[in-house]
């Protein structure tokens, strides 16, 4: 099974290499479809064999010898409850993405598909990597293909969009690299006999305790990088631009997979690595999450371009994910994970749908449509389902995630206030507003533009692209436990472990060494430290 995991990860990369030798565009497409489908089929046993009750260590673990000579940096890949669903989401979306680009890409076809395939390997690596350094490498590996996907096959303003996307993300991640190096040395000194290490098992070892001041700075450095990637308000400005300019397939990958890397990284690395800081900053992140929810929704409401509208709705949805994670309870985090999957499915579907209509009319402006439900009945059904899923209608997937998150936030001890949930819930109402209003303007009413009279309904290929998405949108909506069961045990353990380790650090902290802000932030009682000092003084006397 370890081998199978690696095959699934590297098969797309091999496919990308293969594409270099294929001349005919048709063959390129079929090869890509074959490779991505094969990767998906091969990944199914990983899901079926997954032991949902096992916690605390990853399954299908591959661990190499140290790669960097004198440093303990290892090739370490495996899946656990946190990553399983996202890994599967990535393999599942890949063939759909390939199919969705079938007709719309006509120049440099081989280049386009090889970029998609490299991106898939990078994404799978991000979700499977259990060495912080490996995670970083796979993450950067996804940036290069994304840069070209937006820049070469994107829209009018593509160069500005892709440069902004690339540099914005890189700034955050380079700062994180410095923090990563610091963590590696600190962990080496504490738990690895002085040898630099980024091994996941050692970084979450109970005896690896970073000081409170160190945690604060490192948390901020990591948090900054992840906030940009998610993106969390106010670091979101690259996202609508990148989404609007990217080709359909690029938008789908960006929404369904790339944005998940940031939120996944928060859950995987940011919270467990810096438990005290994560708890102390939870209200701040929750506030940013709530602002994201409301802000994204309000801005989405005034958009004239459907694609931009969906891009802003992504910011709103990701606000929910962040809110759920920082609730610090199982329900909230479970909701966050399933919301990541949901957002991938429903927003992915919406981008594909927008792509289909753009191929027909070469416009995405709401005002250019109206009344097309009459001409495209099948399309209307699909679009309707994706829209309702995105809103969070009970019975479809979106509801499950948002409901769990709001319940988790409401009961959160760490956040300590129900207002986060109350204001977050307003976002759901706003979502219904902007999505349904958009849907109504695009699909219903009289046909006001005569070009829309000749619209063709979606063909068999397009239905094949959308049907699997619809299947899961309904499945998750009706039987969420089929999916949430994968992460439940691991999330519960992880959160307990984080809180336990946090309390150990606070107990050990002496108020004497800490600056005033840290005492306040981490609620360390100076009296305790003062008592200890008195005792030592007495002993000396």
């Amino acid at each position: 099974m370890e081998l199978l995991l690696n095959i699934v990860i590297y098969l797309p990369l091999f496919g990308a290499f293969l594409l270099l030798f294929i001349r005919r565009a048709e063959w390129v497409k079929w090869t890509s479809l074959f490779i991505t489908t094969a990767a998906f089929v091969l990944s199914l046993p990983l899901l079926l064999q997954f032991d949902i009750s096992a916690t605390g260590s990853a399954q299908y673990l591959t661990v190499s010898e140290p790669l960097l000579g004198d440093w303990d940096v290892k090739y370490m890949m495996g899946l656990d409850g946190l990553s399983m669903l996202l890994f599967m989401l990535t393999t599942f979306m890949a063939p759909i993405v390939v199919l969705s680009a079938w007709r719309s890409i006509d120049k440099h076809v081989a280049g386009f598909y090889s970029m998609l395939l490299i991106l898939q390997t990078g994404s799978l690596g991000v979700f499977a990597a259990l060495d912080l350094f490996m995670f970083y490498i796979f993450f950067e590996l996804t940036q290069i293909p994304m840069f070209f996907l937006i820049g070469i096959w994107g829209g009018e303003n593509r160069i500005y969009a892709t440069v902004k996307f690339f540099i914005y993300t890189l700034v955050g991640w380079l700062l994180m690299l410095v923090a990563l190096i610091y963590v590696g040395f600190a962990a080496g000194n504490m738990v690895n006999d002085g040898v630099f290490t980024t091994d996941w098992r050692l970084l979450t070892d109970p005896s690896f305790q970073l000081g409170l001041v160190e945690q604060t700075w490192l948390f901020l450095a990591f948090g900054f990088a992840f906030c940009i990637k998610v993106p969390i308000f106010p670091f979101h400005s690259w996202l609508p631009l990148a989404h609007t300019e990217a080709p359909t397939a690029g938008s789908v990958v960006l929404a369904a997979i790339a944005l998940k890397m940031g939120t996944y990284a928060i859950l995987r690395f940011l919270i467990p690595l810096f438990p005290n800081a994560a708890i102390a900053f939870a209200p701040m992140f929750a506030v940013l999450g709530v602002i994201g929810i409301i802000y994204g929704a309000l801005v989405a409401m005034v958009q004239k371009d459907v694609k931009k509208l969906v891009a802003y709705s992504s910011i709103s949805h990701l606000g929910f994910v962040v809110l759920g994670m920082f609730a610090f309870n199982t329900v909230g985090a479970q909701g966050a994970i399933i919301q990541m999957v949901n957002h991938g499915l429903s927003t992915g579907a919406l981008f594909i749908i927008i792509g289909m209509i753009y191929e027909r009319r070469h416009t995405r402006m709401i005002a250019d449509f109206g009344g097309i439900a009459q001409k495209m009945p099948v399309f209307t059904v699909m679009f309707m389902m994706a829209t309702l899923a995105s809103i969070g209608l009970p019975g479809l997937n979106g509801f499950v995630g948002e409901f769990l998150i709001l319940v988790g936030t409401f009961n959160s001890e760490v956040l300590g206030s129900y207002w986060y949930a109350v204001i977050g819930a307003v976002g759901v109402i706003l979502a219904a507003g902007y999505m349904l209003w958009m849907f109504q303007r695009v699909m219903f009413g009289p046909i006001t533009h005569k070009e829309n009279n000749d619209l063709q309904d979606i063909n068999a290929r397009e239905i094949a692209v959308l049907l699997p998405l619809m299947l899961f949108i309904v499945w998750i909506g009706i039987r969420p436990t089929d999916f949430t069961k994968y992460s439940e045990a691991e999330v519960t353990r992880m959160l307990e472990d984080v809180q336990l380790r946090a309390s150990v650090v606070v107990d050990n902290a002496s108020g004497e060494d800490l600056p005033g802000w840290a005492l306040h932030l981490y609620d360390v009682t100076p009296q305790l430290a003062a008592n200890l000092d008195n005792e030592t003084e007495e002993v000396e006397e």
Binding site: G69, L141, F185
Partner: protein
């Protein structure tokens, strides 16, 4: 000389020196540039092989301690020979395609390489000075190789004047250090107890001399003009082999002659590292000429290397050597591609806008350029990333976190100018309407090898980092 065995410690020097004389004679009698080329290439391969084998041999000093061999010096020779060999291979096609196949170029490259090899093997300031001068004088000639190009002549003259000036500093520094210590041997300078004004003045002047050679801001003024004016493959040679040689020699001097003064020079280097990274990157951002951009980028890279030198530990030195290795591969590669595009319209075809839409015409060249540029940005999985990572890590370990943060921010800014080339290659419409020639097998193969090594040591750096971690000769 104690025995003929000592000759074995300088095999690459002997090969390259002999080759230089041989090729010069060939030029005089045959005027067959191709013959010169093949002689040079084959003997360079031999010298490269000898350097690599020296890397695994013993380390020590020879020729009355004037020469150091093995360890760091051997790795320096490897860097120099990689730079030399690939520059020679690229130079032939470049000069033939631009119609200026001048046979003398090979003997001058060989003499420069001889100087560089002497430089990395020097254990004495006088040997070091001889190396630097042999190298520099040959490079002055090479910069002005194409006599009817105004820019080339300008480059040569500028390089010569400023180079001579800086040599003065270096020589004066050596003289003062001799005054303070009574010796020019590196280890004996380290033993100076009474560190008076003369000593510090000597150290300062020595640093200035080196800063000039490795183009540290504010001693970098010559670099953009010379790199732009010289024939492109010669620029590749100067940017890689000569810079690598100077930095390796600098490491030898810092670690052997000035270990006691580390606290002082570390602060100085810290300061100049910041200048260099900031100025190099900012000025590179506004360049429209790719050669000039790469010149500023090489200044910026020298800045990152200075971070490692400021840290000044064994781990940092080995990180710098790794960085130099990656730097050599990716820079020759990038200049090689720039040279290739120049084939079509000649000398001035180096504006970034000239590249518009060319990336898809010869896909191989475009892909290789992407590999080299992304490696320079410092993005995994390329060797440039590992180099940067190790240098930054060594500095963080020494507590130089502020310096490293400046470094990462500077390299984040650098992304834009590297990407700009790729943006023109791939994302703009073709405006020049030229049809690219298919590059020859040897030319492509050389670039493919460079790219393959860049990827290989990015994915699997362990072998090289192990080797560099155990390298003898930095500190005794």
């Amino acid at each position: 000389m104690e025995s003929a065995n000592e000759l074995l410690t300088i095999i690459p020097l002997i090969i390259i020196g002999g080759a230089g004389l041989l090729v010069m004679m060939l030029d005089a009698f045959t005027e067959n540039a191709r013959l010169s080329y093949w002689t040079t290439a084959l003997l360079s391969v031999a010298a490269l092989g000898a350097s690599v084998s020296a890397l695994f041999g013993s380390a020590g000093t020879s020729f009355y301690d004037l020469i150091t061999y093995g360890g760091t010096a051997a790795f320096g020779s490897v860097l120099v020979m990689i730079g030399t060999l690939f520059s020679v291979i690229l130079t032939r096609d470049y000069l033939e395609q631009t119609g200026r196949h001048i046979a003398e170029v090979y003997s001058m490259i060989l003499f420069a390489a001889f100087g560089m090899l002497l430089l990395v093997q020097s254990n004495n300031l006088v040997t070091l000075f001889l190396g630097i001068e042999t190298m520099s004088i040959s490079l002055y000639v090479l910069a002005g190789l194409v006599k009817d190009e105004k820019r080339g002549t300008e480059a040569a003259l500028k390089y010569f004047l400023l180079g001579a000036f800086s040599t003065g500093f270096l020589l004066y520094g050596i003289a003062l250090l001799y005054g303070a210590s009574g010796s020019t041997f590196l280890v004996e300078i380290a033993a100076v107890e009474d560190k008076g004004l003369i000593y510090w003045a000597g150290v300062a002047l020595l640093l200035v001399g080196f800063f000039f050679k490795i183009s540290i801001v504010p001693f970098h003024m010559w670099t953009p003009d010379v790199y732009q004016g010289a024939p492109t493959t010669i620029t590749a040679f100067m940017a890689t082999a000569s810079k690598a040689a100077a930095i390796v020699a600098f490491i030898l001097v810092l670690s052997r002659a000035l270990p006691e003064a580390r606290a002082e020079w570390s602060d100085v280097i810290w300061l100049f590292a910041i200048f260099t990274m900031v100025v190099g990157n900012v000025l590179a951002l506004v360049q429209d000429n790719v050669k000039r951009m790469l010149a500023y980028s090489s200044i910026a890279h020298a800045g990152y290397i200075m971070i490692g030198l400021a840290a000044g530990t064994d781990a940092a030195y080995s990180a710098v050597l790794f960085y130099l290795f990656a730097y050599t591969l990716m820079n020759i590669g990038a200049f090689g591609i720039v040279a290739y595009y120049e084939w079509h319209k000649g000398y001035d075809f180096t504006e970034v806008k000239n590249y518009s839409g060319l990336g898809f015409q010869q896909p191989l060249m475009g892909v290789l350029m992407s590999v080299f540029l992304f490696s320079m940005v410092g993005i995994p999985p390329f060797a440039g990333f590992i180099g940067k990572y190790r240098v930054f890590a060594a500095a963080v370990d020494e507590g130089l976190i502020g310096l490293v943060i400046v470094g990462v921010l500077a390299s984040a800014a650098s992304v834009y100018y590297y990407l700009r080339v790729l943006i023109h290659l791939y994302m703009k419409e073709d405006i020049t309407g030229i049809t690219l020639i298919r590059p020859g097998v040897v030319y492509s193969a050389a670039l493919i090898i460079l790219a393959a090594l860049t990827i290989y040591f990015g994915v699997n750096p362990g072998t090289l980092t192990d080797l560099l971690g155990n390298l003898k000769g930095v500190s005794y």
